[in-house]
Symmetry: C2
Subunit: 152 residues, 2 copies
Amino acid sequence: MASDLEPPAPAVGDAPLNTVDALVQLSFLVQRILGEVGAERGLSVIQIRLLGVLRGRPAGMLELATVLGLDKSSMTGLVARAEKRGLLKRSPSPHDGRAVLVSLTDDGKDLTNWGTAEIGRRISALTDGLTPPERARITELASAVVQAQRSG
Amino acid sequence: MASDLEPPAPAVGDAPLNTVDALVQLSFLVQRILGEVGAERGLSVIQIRLLGVLRGRPAGMLELATVLGLDKSSMTGLVARAEKRGLLKRSPSPHDGRAVLVSLTDDGKDLTNWGTAEIGRRISALTDGLTPPERARITELASAVVQAQRSG
DNA sequence: TTGCATTAGTACGTGGCACAAACTATATTG
DNA sequence: CAATATAGTTTGTGCCACGTACTAATGCAA
């Protein structure tokens, strides 16, 4: 299903990958790293992502739901659990009595910084086999795809 | 956290991405597509992946757990739910009385084929903004990373 | 101003997903 | 044969995600 990891298995796994398989497989590698890094500190991938979005600027629940691709009702629990762990806090919005501003606590910032560094190390290690120009190129091309999506 | 989607937000989101951010963001785009495609047929990403691994050859529970990066106990439920939906079946291994062989049913194959096609369409659309040589290059580089992981 | 639709967020119930620990049963090894 | 290792399941816990229904604040219109 274009998601085949072609494990140690029979050995048919060396056929060159097409674009779809290559990108899907690569995404699994990256996600696995995110999961592993998160697990070291009891964070799920979605929690890591939540912290990442909050790095920089506070956001409302609805905005977070949109960015993360979740239903707003899913945000309540997600934020509640992170809040209970002291990673972020809810404060009432000054401009809108209904709204809430979610922002990182100091603990949340620390954990976010740690995660950013650790993920950086491990994703970089992923591209260890590439030459510097190749690495620059894949960065460029991946960025182009990402940026195109942000506009489109 | 190297996972920032830089939403419609303020507009700081146009800085060029580094390697880590580019790959992480790209992985989220791909995973979102997998989730959306799966949702159209009530499949989670992990179910899609399970079907993908099973496409081609049957596998034991432990092998599946390894490939998918799950605990063996997680496989029981995953396979059980898919089996209940008629997507795959368990058969006793002929060589090992303890083991089980998981394989796709016809329904499972149909769904896998549909998913493969649909995912292919949507991932391809992701790279629509690239020129053909660029697309070939990102495929090549992504494949190199994936293959390197399989060996290392 | 009052009245009503809209918006932001929460509460609740359901089900999938993932884990660890304990368990069964079959293989394997000394 | 006894001890151990392996394949898989069971059970209990917690997270995650959804849809529906709800509260409360906002905004608009008459």
